[in-house]
Symmetry: C2
């Protein structure tokens, strides 16, 4: 590995040629990066770590994919707040034996998804680490009146998702079951696993409606994340249907597993979950379909009380939180 | 280790009882944290990772100290920009076998130094990791006219430090040479190693003067960091004297080493290096002394050309960059 200053110069070159600088962002090279926030907005900040062996395996994705995912998870958090990405910082831990070009490769993935969502890279930190370690903090802006969170879902609200779930887990299984899926299903699963799309435009669209009362991303699995939304909003929920991605359904069938569990426990996906005023839902769904060419998918309702139930043929059952717990070993 | 949600609740409790919330910061629990930046200021962001085995050893400091240091290095970066800390996010990686109380302990150090400098903790991320991994991103604010960086040092400027160097390295050696120092020297060295003070007030004071042209912290060692300042400002420098902390001088003598090398190569210290208009320097130094009860220490001058030289008895010599390179193995 070359020296820190030499690597940083290479990364800076990559960033500056690939990304438009967010407004008057100071050039990289100072102790911090400065920018001028806009006056009518709130700033939003989020952070997410992505660690080799915990969040990704080198045998199921390239370093470029890992970089993409690290940034995508932060952009998804901004999306869940209804915010427009402004800039991000990257703290990169590089393992023994890695080459400078490996670090550049990982940064390439970071830069690629940042460019799609017009997020500047405002510098960061490189250091040695036992394994590849990517800690990103992202800053966005949201009009004060559009700021959403998890706390204001109301009984009666429709719970809706910006897309079907489970494809990322199907993609992970492809590493071990290479011949299970083919064609577009295979594509869908691999893409969801390696290049998940943060729903930035969808988040801003939903945040602009005052009929959307709460929003979050379901990056830790739907069952866990619905429970978190309900706990924060001090209410309960009934899940009536769970939209499963076609590749997840096919993979579950091939492995003799329950397709719904792919969606409920999946994780590492970035669809948004929104609590939407029931009377406004049909109109908002129609506008969403027109704008994005995909449906806004209702999955159930918020209700009084606490706890998340799921509708089964035999009646309601408790929905256990089977999603991702980052401390489970 | 308990579940992620349970640990986060414990950490939130610690943060909310210990830290005043920065203005209208949203409570922790959403995908991100929102705040209202002030209108006349620029926002500044920085990030720094602190990794067990790379940045600290468990046998030379407690987890609380490690938490303090992780946050202090970020606050120091804000100080170098002349910024007032506003908030920080914390991504915490927890190794196998660690207990929840270990994570709380580490957070306690983070919270303690944050409180001293009125920095809110705006949430973060917890996850498993091979070793203790603390990635912090800190956001501050600086009046647009006060924003400093590394790029505008001018030939003729006095280079000055906010304090003497080398004590942190002396403190690190104490772990291996427990009986070398005693009394106040020992205190100084251990404190510098475990609880370094970011120079936030000093940074804001210096930033408010238009006679301070450039500023940075010397967290990677004076020789490396002077070279970085000069490279960014496209000029050279002559270092005429290097202020060595008393504990560093004593430790160097005890180990038969060169005392200056402790200051030049030390690292993990948070004094600020400023390039100050030579005519204004005496007045600024007097005001600094009056305000902080400590001297502003001149170490040399900026000059035309490139490269950093050091004055020796026999004449000028090249000052090699012997500071910390985060990628050196």
């Amino acid at each position: 590995m070359q020296s820190e200053d030499a690597l940083i110069a290479q990364l800076r070159e990559l960033i500056e040629t690939q990304l438009p600088h967010a407004r008057s962002l100071t050039p990289i090279g100072d102790d911090g990066a400065a920018w001028q926030p806009s006056r009518s907005h709130r700033s939003v900040v989020t952070t997410d770590a992505c660690i080799e062996g915990v969040h990704f395996r080198r045998d199921t994705m390239s370093l470029e994919d890992a970089g993409w995912r690290s940034m995508a998870s932060n952009l998804s958090d901004l999306a869940a707040m209804g915010a427009r990405p402004v800039l991000a910082t990257v703290a990169l831990g590089i393992p023994p034996g890695a080459r400078a070009q490996d670090a550049v490769q990982l940064y390439r993935g970071i830069v690629e998804v940042s460019r799609l969502h017009r997020c500047a890279i405002a510098g960061g930190d490189v250091t040695r680490a036992p394994v590849w370690t990517v800690c990103i903090a992202a800053v966005g802006e949201v009009r004060t009146t559009h700021l959403k969170g998890r706390a204001h879902a109301r009984p009666g609200d429709v719970l809706a998702l910006t897309g079907a779930l489970g494809a990322s887990r199907a993609g992970l299984h492809l590493a071990d079951n290479v011949n299970v899926l083919s064609g577009s299903l295979r594509e869908e699963a691999l893409r969801a696993h390696r290049r998940p799309q943060p729903r930035v435009a969808e988040g801003r669209f939903l945040a602009a409606s005052r009929n959307v009362h709460a929003m979050m991303d379901v990056s830790d699995g739907l069952s866990t994340d619905v429970a978190r939304l309900c706990a924060r909003s001090r209410c309960g929920a009934l899940v009536e249907q769970v939209p499963v991605a076609p590749s997840a359904a096919a993979m579950a069938q091939a492995r003799g597993e329950d397709a719904q569990s792919y969606a409920l426990a999946g994780g590492e996906e970035y669809e948004l979950l929104a609590a939407i005023d029931a009377r406004a839902f049909p109109y908002l769904r129609a506008r969403f379909q027109k704008r994005f060419g995909r449906p806004l998918l209702p999955i159930g309702h918020v209700r009084e009380g606490s706890g998340v139930m799921v509708r089964k043929a035999a009646g309601e059952e408790v929905l256990p939180a089977t999603g991702w717990d980052h401390l489970r070993e």
